[in-house]
């Protein structure tokens, strides 16, 4: 993927492509963006994603490969499920949409499925999607389904390409369709799964809102809950399509994503601008794996680890399940003795005590009293240390018989 479609290669873009080296750019998907939005303070992830670095290969070279993967059984089942969905002219999708939009079921309308050039480069696909969306929105009576469209969203100053499962366009507005494999059992689904799907769909809605605003030449509304009244604007309710009970029968459920949309917008706006991240980067840093002719990386792991260490990370144990570099960052956090390795909440509990050694030293008998007496109603570091020493005393007393 070259960057020329995005206009001129501006200095930040050039620097980002230097960071990546000659490897092809990895585009951000909504899952990655949702993960990024869940941990907006992580500069390491923000920069690597902006540069489109292949984090899987990077983690592999660093010696701690990501444990992610998908079972062939799950893939086969997913394909079967999607093919069920396409049966009968996407009736499963259209029926709940008709009900929501109040369109009589007997109204005869055929569903147009335009070709979105799935084999083209991301920039071309995004252009094609935008054109197809504008065309579909222009005819209010038509029903159009955009199958795997490609949307563009600017994240912290660099473009990200997103691929929703489908978009249904009718009456000048579009609805995001998200296909998932977890079941809706007896009318309810696992809230954790629904939440993740809603966060992911909210990213698509945001991208569509920005695109609609851009087309109309208007700024995006300040109010994240506002409904856009523009052609091609997205509904704030998305359609979640899941298997019903234990069958492969699809069922579509509307999910309101306004809250997730507001959260995503706030988190993404909080991210440090890429320019600032680049400015803080020492000269000459690159994440190039220096692949040889056979594609095997030749860059020494130590050198690569140093380059990665030049960008600070905000590690939390949740990273292990969402980020390819999770294991790498964990081993660094463990080496440094950082208290974050025990969980996000622990850091809040321990106040200014940032390492395991510091915290344990504060818990030693007599440590809290310190050279000076604790001021009444003490706060800040003294309070955390004092409570820790108190907890240590109670623990030692309770375990007295055991040890």
């Amino acid at each position: 993927m070259n960057v020329s479609h995005l206009g001129q290669a501006t200095p930040p873009l050039r620097r980002l492509s230097e960071l990546r080296g000659p490897a092809p750019q990895r585009s951000l998907d909504a899952r990655a963006l949702a993960a990024l939005a869940a941990n907006p303070g992580c500069r390491r992830r923000a920069l690597l994603d902006a540069a489109g670095v292949d984090k899987v290969a990077l983690a592999q070279r660093l010696g701690r490969p990501a444990p992610f993967g998908q079972s062939p059984f799950a893939i086969r089942r997913g394909l079967l499920f999607e093919s069920r969905l396409k049966r009968d002219g996407y009736a499963v999708l259209l029926e709940p949409l008709r009900r929501r939009l109040g369109v009589p079921a007997e109204e005869v309308s055929s569903l147009a499925v335009p070709d979105l050039l799935p084999a083209a480069s991301p920039a071309v696909r995004a252009e094609r999607t935008a054109a197809a969306l504008a065309e579909a929105a222009a005819d209010p009576s038509a029903w159009t389904l955009l199958d795997h469209p490609l949307l563009r969203l600017d994240v912290a100053g660099s473009p990200a390409y997103l691929e929703p499962d489908a978009l249904v366009v009718h009456a000048g507005r579009c609805t995001v369709v998200e296909i998932k494999s977890f079941p809706v059992l007896d009318g309810s689904a696992d809230p954790a799964n629904v939440g993740a799907a809603a966060r992911q769909a909210a990213v698509y809605v945001l991208a569509l809102q920005e695109a609609a605003a851009r087309r109309a030449g208007l700024p995006l509304s300040e109010d994240p809950y506002a409904v856009q009244e523009l052609p091609g604007a997205p509904e704030l309710t998305v359609l979640l399509v899941c298997p019903k009970d234990f069958s492969a029968q699809p069922v579509a459920v509307p999910v309101d994503v306004r809250r997730e949309l507001a959260v995503t917008r706030r988190q993404l706006s909080r991210m440090t601008r890429i320019e600032q991240l680049l400015a803080a980067l020492p000269e000459g840093v690159t994440f190039d794996l220096a692949r040889d002719g056979s594609g095997a990386p030749t860059r020494p792991a130590g050198e690569l680890a140093e380059a990665v260490a030049a960008v600070p990370a905000a590690y939390a144990p949740e990273c292990i399940s969402t980020c390819e570099l999770g294991f790498h960052c964990r081993s660094q956090a463990r080496c440094a003795g950082a208290v974050e390795q025990l969980g996000r909440g622990v850091r809040g509990e321990l106040g200014s005590l940032r390492t395991v050694e510091e915290a344990l030293a504060a818990a030693e008998p007599g440590a809290a009293a310190g050279p000076e007496p604790e001021p009444a109603g003490g706060s800040g570091p003294d309070e955390a240390s004092g409570r820790l020493a108190y907890a240590a005393r109670l623990r030692a007393e309770a375990l007295g018989g055991v040890r």
């Binding site: 993967g69 799950a74 893939i75 494999s181 069958s247 144990p317 409570r387 907890a391 309770a398």
Partner: protein, 532 residues
């Protein structure tokens, strides 16, 4: 997570081994538990792949579905599992205690004596992790409505009679597992988390083998090690083919295992079955015999790979059982286990009485009852754990909900009035900082009978309380009912007996605000429920 458990985690980081979070065992452990290591087929909700189960750690028994998409094979698998699990569960119904009680006669309103049966013991299933419990719940939901050959309308695919019975038991056990402190169905990760802290986060502790690596060196790691390094080895070490050296404890299998080992083995089995069918259709006896041998070989190969995927978790669960058995049992365990025995007895009676399976959704009153029960049990569990375990009491002391100390002075005083009652003052020296305002009622822990007191004054290092009850009916307190100077006392700011919640109406009297009395709904045809 409380500061005390954070502290234990910090200590575990330093020591690189698990640290105690309890001085006693807070969950009942059966002498004859059944361990199950269930595996699910990827991509499909609750679709079973295999289960390794048994009551003897030296004799695990493997059952599996050779082709996870084949519904006949799934039915056979479920029937085979039912034939192992249901007899185990029912064996606990043989020995009963007879308890005399009284019941209100619905017609006359008078109390009439009744004799009820209570099973002397109850079964206990142990799975590796919370995912295992969730998988059993899905299996229960998907099988309890199955139609069998005995049904008037057995449908196209009737299942063996044991299958819906297994579903009803699994539903009951997974439902009961939601009750705090219950022990009929336990997840090993949860059991270990209650009793020990590791030097990693809660999230990482969900991996049974990684959590156990803080207790015992994992099998196969050379040189043997403990702690973070061993946990990481268990999580991520792979062999030359990219397969995990220590497979996860399920129910999800490693995708690489699915791709490189399981999928080819299933394919070979399918191919062998196809050859056999073709030969059978062509009536070629020699070919049928040859194909049957092929099928047998493919079947054995599948059994081998699935055993290798479940056996490490099987050993891990039993190792966890050993660790827990080394802890002395908490004092209130028999009391809570009796609740489990009642739960088992009542479900057994419902099944024997021919009641229909549990509904898909509870009606309003049943749901409210379950919720009230769980709240009550949670309160009871917290109180009992604090009384049984000084470390659990330390949590409450740290939170300012209790204080412990030495009685330094006892001032005898009496109440006013015609018949004065003893109201002695105790001066307690304590390092605790209870949220104790004067006049606040407190309760003395471990007092028999129960003893209330009120705070008279509270200053750093010293709390003065006045005893209010539990000293007999006479003017002078019963000997031993007032602590002597120099003795150690613990007072709690919370009550030591959980409150009873307000009674709930019968389901038939559900108020209209909650949907009114439940209407009997015709169950959806079972076909819609089944896997495809």
């Amino acid at each position: 997570m409380s500061l005390l458990s954070t502290l234990a985690r910090l200590e575990a980081v330093r020591a690189q081994r698990a640290q105690p979070l309890a001085t006693v065992r807070h969950r009942h452990l059966s002498d004859r538990p059944m361990v199950l290591v269930p595996l699910a087929a990827a991509g499909e909700a609750g679709a079973p792949l295999a289960v390794l189960l048994g009551t003897d750690r030296r004799e695990p028994r493997l059952h599996f579905v050779p082709q996870p998409l084949n519904r006949t094979q799934r039915s056979e698998f479920l029937a085979a599992v039912a034939r192992e699990v249901v007899p185990y569960l029912e064996s606990f119904g043989d020995e009963v205690e007879l308890l005399e009680g009284s019941e209100k006669d619905p017609v006359s309103g008078e109390k009439v004596p009744v004799v009820r049966e209570l099973c002397a013991d109850a079964p206990q299933l142990i799975v590796p992790n919370a995912g295992g419990v969730a998988h059993l719940a899905l299996l229960g939901r998907s099988t309890r409505f199955r139609r069998t050959v005995e049904d008037p309308d057995p449908g196209e695919y009737p299942s063996p009679t044991e299958v819906p019975l297994l579903g009803r038991w699994l539903t009951h056990l997974t439902d009961r597992a939601q009750v705090p402190g219950s022990s009929m169905l336990l997840a090993m990760t949860g059991l270990l988390a209650r009793h020990w802290a590791t030097g990693q986060s809660n999230l990482e502790d969900q991996h049974l083998a990684a959590r156990l690596a803080w207790h015992l060196p994992p099998a196969g790691l050379e040189p043997p090690a403990l702690g973070a390094e061993a946990a990481e080895w268990v999580e991520s070490a792979r062999d030359g083919e990219g397969l995990l050296l220590h497979p996860p404890a399920g129910p999800a299998t490693d995708p690489k295992f699915d791709e490189r080992v399981l999928a080819p083995a299933i394919l070979r089995h399918d191919a062998a079955v196809a050859v056999r069918e073709r030969a059978g259709a062509a009536r070629d006896d020699a070919e049928v015999r040859r194909a049957a041998a092929l099928v047998e070989r493919a079947h054995a190969e599948l059994a081998r790979v699935l055993l290798s995927a479940t056996l490490p978790a099987w050993h891990d669960v039993w190792n966890g059982v050993d660790l827990l058995r080394a802890l002395p049992p908490a004092g209130h365990l028999p009391d809570r286990w009796e609740g489990d025995r009642w739960s088992f007895t009542m479900h057994r009676e419902r099944v024997a009485a021919g009641e229909p399976p549990q509904p898909r959704r509870d009606d309003a009153v049943t749901a409210a009852r379950k919720l009230a029960q769980r709240e009550r049990e949670q309160a009871k569990l917290e109180i009992q754990e604090a009384l049984d375990d000084p470390l659990a009491m330390a949590e409450r002391r740290l939170a300012g909900e209790a204080f412990a100390g030495e009685v330094v002075d006892v001032v005898p005083e009496w109440s006013e009035g015609r018949s004065p009652k003893p109201r002695p003052l105790l001066v307690v020296r304590t390092g605790d900082r209870p949220h104790a305002d004067p006049g606040r009622e407190v309760h003395r822990a471990h007092a028999e009978p129960a003893q209330r007191a009120e705070i008279v004054s509270s200053a750093p290092g010293e709390v003065v309380v006045r005893l209010l009850s539990g000293m007999g009916r006479r003017r002078d307190p019963e000997p031993g009912s007032v602590p002597e100077p120099g003795s150690t006392v613990v007072f709690t700011l919370f009550e030591l007996a959980p409150r009873q919640s307000a009674p709930l109406p019968e389901p038939a009297d559900t108020p209209w605000t909650h949907g009114g009395p439940p209407v009997a709904v015709e169950d959806a045809p079972a076909g819609a429920d089944e896997w495809e």
